[in-house]
């Protein structure tokens, strides 16, 4: 004859859709005849089954269901929009940054072709750029701010699409294809992409982008602690 624990476990197994191997159900029935505690337990299990059958889970209200559908749709649109907008902004910034650098180099004569074709001395170029680095950074930062301002208008329009409010059409972002690039602009493009790739903060990104022109950075001296050592 099984004990109370075995009987109750067997009943739970039945509810779980499993059967306890090696257990003779007739012995369970015999136990239930004799044990009022287990009879009550089994009665409770049957009651739970019946209550579950007559008390299905509540359904969402039709209005909430409709709102949720709209919200889900908007969330996907917003996500797609933000990815496209982010890519577009990065491309714009890359182009403009490259253009800025190119224009600076060309107008200041750093890369202007000399009367007689002579090879460009890269160390001279690097020295010139290093000397003008603050000016380059200032221009790049100003361009970054201007383009963040430009980007706020498409973002507002995206918000209008998502939330359904009407907004006046804003100006189009300037296109990178209008930015003049020199033929031998591989290096400049690279600089532009690096500047355009990081906007937070732009000055820091630009500084990193121009690191290769500044040469190796001297490691900072270890801070000294007057109170230690001596």
């Amino acid at each position: 004859m099984p004990n109370c624990r075995t009987v109750r476990n067997a009943w739970n197994d039945r509810l779980d859709g499993a059967s306890r191997p090696g257990l003779d159900l007739s012995t369970v029935e015999a136990h239930l005849v004799e044990c009022s505690g287990c009879r009550e337990y089994v009665e409770g299990m049957r009651l739970i089954e019946q209550l579950l059958a007559i008390a299905p889970p509540e359904s969402p209200r039709p209005l909430f269901h409709a709102q949720l559908l709209e919200l889900a749709e908007s969330a996907v649109r917003e996500k797609r929009g933000s990815i496209n907008g982010g890519t577009r902004l990065a491309m714009q910034l890359s182009g403009v940054a490259a253009g800025l650098v190119a224009a600076l180099l060309l107008t200041r004569g750093v890369l202007m072709p000399p009367p007689d074709p002579v090879p460009v001395d890269e160390s001279v170029v690097a020295a010139e750029l290093s000397a003008r680095l603050p000016e380059v950074l200032e221009l790049a930062s100003a361009a970054g701010i201007e383009f963040v301002q430009e980007a706020s208008s498409p973002a507002a329009r995206l918000g209008a699409v998502v939330f359904g409010s009407e907004q006046p059409a804003g100006p189009e972002l300037p296109s990178a294809v209008h930015v003049p690039l020199p033929d031998s602009g591989g290096m400049i493009e690279s600089v532009g992409r690096r500047v355009g790739g990081g906007m937070k903060p732009l000055a820091g990104s630009a500084r990193k982008a121009f690191d290769f022109l500044l040469g190796p950075v001297e490691p900072e001296a270890e801070p000294t602690h007057p109170g230690r050592g001596a």
Binding site: I48, L51, P57, E73
Partner: protein, 178 residues
């Protein structure tokens, strides 16, 4: 559209796929939330949060897995967070567990459904969650274990205790099989 195709469509930014996700699963997610939170407005909030989290995080979801346990897992976690926040609020007055209940035993189906809800409310949240996932969402032990991050044995123990406590409460209320 199967789960895999639905996930791919959402990842590609198809708004119709996001609607399909809600159409397919909002009843089960809401059903779990309302059982767990016992409050329709809170359940709607958590259901909404669950879908937004799922849509935002779907790029990191393993598309070879079924969606339903994943969504219910998010919902279960949000419900637990919501309950823990609620627990930090000033306590509401509740009837003591062993107090004598003088209310008449229910007779209609609606009353019996309310009795089950009331009995479920008295379970600790983990037991209630396991009971609801198993009996109302028909999730197998293994999936519940994944949702909760607990061993299957623990899930089984909690479910059996939940049933036992429910049965005891219903017996105290004098409720018998209809």
């Amino acid at each position: 559209m199967d789960d895999r195709a639905l996930v791919d469509a959402i990842r590609s930014g198809d708004p119709a796929a996001a609607r399909a996700l809600v159409e397919r699963f909002d009843a089960v997610v809401f059903g779990l939330c309302v059982r767990m939170l016992r409050h329709r407005q809170d359940a709607e909030d958590v259901t909404q949060e669950t879908f937004l989290r799922a849509l935002r995080g779907i790029r990191g979801f393993d598309g070879d897995r079924p969606l339903r346990p994943w969504l219910l897992g998010i919902a279960a976690n949000r419900c637990r967070t919501s309950l823990s926040r609620r627990g930090r609020r000033p306590a509401t007055i509740e009837a003591p567990e062993e107090a004598v209940d003088h209310r008449p035993a229910p007779s209609s189906g609606d009353d019996l459904a309310a009795e089950l809800q009331s009995a479920l409310e008295r379970l600790r949240p983990d037991y209630r969650l396991v009971f609801t996932l198993f009996h109302e969402q028909a999730m197998p032990y293994e999936e519940i274990a994944q949702v909760l991050g607990r061993p299957v044995g623990t899930v089984k123990t909690w479910l059996h205790r939940a049933r036992g406590e429910l049965a005891e409460h219903l017996a105290r209320r004098g409720i018998r099989c209809p």
